[in-house]
């Protein structure tokens, strides 16, 4: 019995939150990696682009709520996904048209494009703050829990409860759907194959008649979908605050590089590696050990490897270690 309780403690406080957070990071990391693989620059506006899409979802959610439209037990934000994604793609394409295209045609070095993306980051932040302000907003409605701790305890008669928030379930399910469609698209369709070819060898791809404009267009569309959905899921699970989204860019970069930048599947796994490392290293295991160890050996300290203050530092340290010893990422394999 104690053993089941111990497992439940772990599930409740580490594994389920890590899966959720990992999914959110994974979507962002695939976005980073796609831009890096096909457009060939590190996009420092990543966090703010995700924030931009989420901003529309928040505003539309408020609008729909005022109209009385909702999805019953599901959050209203789910209906806003197509609209927010559309706005996001429009924004990305116009940014590409007015800013990035010039440097791409000129074949500028990646560093210059990265610097330009810093400019885009500033402008995007300004637009977001002018439209919605820097405040913290929650836009979750509908049923909050799928399974409550008290209900679970009643059902099973165990000491420990299992809580599953609806946002956690929604995040994991939607991520799985989006990511599988994306991999199917990249690997099985003609357009997807042409994108991979373009990423592998630009000159050869151009020679074989692939239209670079179309590849870039499709890339931004996929990027827009991933960025918006990732942003909305994060906002539903925690809350929407522009500054937090900017900061999230850092673990997302870490995930993309850990997975081997340019490799979408690596980025997908990288998101979970970062999330699990952050949560496993900063969780206080006292309760867990109280269950599995005999009474005499019970720990009196928190059994925490690192304080939660260093949550971000964990992912950065992993990244630095990976960069130093295996710059191509821990998941070797073909890129894109």
């Amino acid at each position: 019995m104690d053993f089941i309780n111990a497992i439940l403690v772990l599930l409740n406080y580490t594994i389920i939150p890590a899966l959720t957070y990992g999914s959110q990071l994974a979507l962002g990391a695939i976005f980073v990696t796609l831009i890096y693989g096909i457009l060939r620059f590190a996009n420092f506006a990543t966090g703010d682009m995700m924030s931009f899409g989420t901003m529309f979802a928040v505003l539309l959610t408020y609008y729909f709520q005022s109209l009385g439209i909702n999805l019953g037990i599901f959050p209203t934000a789910l209906i806003t996904i197509p609209f927010a994604t559309f706005m996001m793609i429009l924004y990305m394409l116009s940014i590409d048209k007015f800013v990035f295209e010039y440097y791409r045609i000129k074949k500028s070095p990646p560093v210059q494009l990265a610097m330009v993306s810093v400019g885009v980051m500033f402008v995007t932040q300004a637009i977001i703050r002018i439209i919605i302000g820097p405040a913290d907003r929650t836009f979750l409605d509908g049923e909050k829990f799928i399974l409550k701790a008290s209900e679970f305890k009643e059902m099973t008669g165990l000491n420990e409860g299992l809580t599953i928030k609806s946002t956690q379930a929604i995040t994991i399910v939607i991520t799985m759907i989006v990511v599988s469609i994306m991999f199917w698209f990249l690997n099985r369709t003609k357009t997807g194959t042409s994108m991979r070819a373009y990423s592998d060898n630009e000159d050869l791809a151009l020679l074989s008649g692939i239209d670079p404009k179309k590849v870039v267009l499709i890339t931004w569309i996929i990027a827009g979908i991933l960025a918006t959905i990732g942003g909305i899921l994060y906002g539903l699970d925690k809350s929407y605050r522009p500054f937090v989204y900017f900061n999230n860019m850092l673990p997302i970069f870490a995930a993309a590089i850990v997975g081997g930048i340019g490799n979408p599947f690596g980025a997908f796994l990288g998101g979970y590696v970062i999330a699990f490392a952050e949560i496993f290293l900063t969780y206080a295991y006292k309760k867990f050990f109280t269950y599995i160890l005999p009474e005499a050996l019970e720990p009196n300290s928190m059994m925490q490897i690192l304080s939660t203050d260093y949550k971000f530092a964990v992912s950065f340290s992993i990244l630095v270690i990976v960069l130093l010893f295996r710059p191509s990422g821990i998941f070797k394999g073909k890129t894109l």
Partner: protein, 456 residues
């Protein structure tokens, strides 16, 4: 002379703008802006050495700035005797353990041939070291933080004059740059950018959360100053005489004695704040001029030519027998040390150390915009960039407010759009800075004052 016309014009325009702020807003604000412009200029000199001379991307400026600020606390604050008594010994032992770890790892790497066993040994040393550190430091940290937590709760510093901390800041930042450079400089440009960005974030999170070191997010206030305090100035007779002489014409117009006293008192208060800021301006200007002379000399020396050669073609420079790795490390350390000085200057100017305020937006990306807008590879350009961008950063909100009022003047006071826009005026600074960067990158990628190669 003619080749300097554009430099002189650009600086004249900049100073006119600052003087205009003095006339229209207040001299105190103008001097605050000028002081921050000078601090930014020091930062841009540092960043420009790395990016302009050597082509190294350092997105970790925030980390070095924070270390410079930490140096002010560690050097100038008086030591907390009680805290040293309860935990000082343990902390010193910890320092010894860290040094021991580093040396034993170096020794292992040197003496034992590359093998799996060596990796295990290194891993074992690190794990044992960390366990030891936690065992020794935990009780010490607890007892140090328990010493008057509202006022101290940290070890304090050395109690030396604050100006020493500027040098110490350079050494701290340079030391970090040495470690970072050793491990990360081999990376490709954009990887280096991301790695430095994240390392800076780690440094700041350590400063934020290790309360025993510098009180963390509880901030250290009331730091020493290299300039007199306003209160003391307002009571010293020579200063009051000086103000009286300076404003004698204005004061002579007032007849009643009591009214004259009142006006004089107000003038003395205003003048004291301006005087203190002028003292800082003098100090900062000295630093900027010294750095400018040194960097300018270095740029046009054989060493500067070698750096440019390495930047423009690493392989060719390597083939000519230049040690590219060593020079990169050197310039990374030098640039970061200068940024460290700027960090110390800034905390000295503010008189308080607030680790919570170190954010990459303000301390990394804005500095980069300064370097790129001003002119990469040209020290005058970088300094000008510091001035222009800082000026825009501060004045964007008032200017935006002015335009919002102008364009929404026909709307009623309570109009929702108008109120919303007026409330979001501060955020127009991001828009202005971002647009400035994009426009400069597009139409004048070499910056306002481009790099100049003097051939003789």
């Amino acid at each position: 002379m003619r080749q300097y016309t554009n430099v002189i014009t650009a600086y004249l325009i900049m100073f006119t703008l600052i003087i205009l702020v003095g006339i229209f807003q207040s001299w105190s604000i103008a001097l605050t802006i000028l002081n921050y412009c000078l601090i930014s200029a020091v930062m841009t000199i540092g960043a420009n050495i790395q990016w302009g001379y050597a082509g190294l991307i350092n997105f970790g400026i925030m980390g070095y700035t924070a270390l410079g600020g930490l140096a002010v606390v560690l050097i100038s604050v008086a030591p907390v005797g009680e805290a040293w008594r309860v935990g000082g010994l343990n902390m010193m032992i910890c320092l010894g353990v860290i040094v021991g770890m580093v040396f034993s790892i170096r020794l292992t790497l040197k003496k034992i041939a590359k093998s799996k066993n060596r990796n295990y040994l290194v891993a074992a040393i690190i794990i044992i070291g960390i366990l030891l550190l936690r065992l020794i430091s935990e009780p010490a940290i607890e007892s140090i933080e328990a010493v008057e937590p509202a006022k101290t709760g940290f070890l304090g510093g050395l109690g030396l004059p604050v100006l020493f901390s500027w040098i110490a800041g350079a050494f701290l930042a340079g030391g970090l740059a040495f470690v970072v450079g050793k491990v990360a400089l081999g990376l490709r440009a954009d990887y280096l950018a991301i790695a430095t960005l994240l390392i800076a974030e780690i440094v700041v999170s350590i400063i934020k959360h290790e309360d025993w070191l510098a009180r963390g997010v509880k901030n250290v206030i009331g730091l020493k100053r290299p300039a007199p305090y306003e209160i003391n100035l307002q009571q010293s007779p020579w200063f009051i005489d000086l103000v009286e002489k300076f404003h004698s014409g204005k004061l002579a117009l007032i007849n009643s004695v009591s009214e004259k006293q009142e006006v004089l008192k107000q003038l003395v208060i205003d003048a004291s704040s301006v005087y203190v800021k002028l003292c800082f301006t003098g100090l900062f200007l000295t630093v900027v001029i010294i750095l400018l002379i040194v960097t300018q000399k270095a740029l046009y020396s054989p060493w500067g030519r070698m750096m440019r050669a390495i930047r423009d073609n690493e392989e060719a420079a390597g083939a000519m027998g230049k040690n590219v790795v060593k020079q990169h490390l050197l310039i990374f350390i030098l640039g970061s040390a200068i940024v460290g000085i700027a960090g110390a200057m800034m905390v000295t100017n503010d008189g308080l150390f607030t680790p919570g305020s170190y954010r990459p937006m303000r301390y990394t990306f804005v500095i980069w915009v300064m370097v790129i807008v001003g002119g990469t590879g040209n020290n005058f350009g970088a300094i000008l960039g510091g001035f222009v961008v800082w000026f825009l950063w501060v004045e964007a909100a008032p200017i935006a407010l002015f335009f919002i009022n102008l364009f929404t003047a026909h709307l009623p006071e309570t109009n929702e759009i108008r109120v919303h826009l007026i409330n979001s005026a501060p955020y127009f600074r991001f828009l202005v800075i971002g647009t400035a960067l994009l426009v400069i990158m597009r139409f004048r990628p070499q910056g306002i004052l481009p790099e100049k190669i003097i051939k003789n």
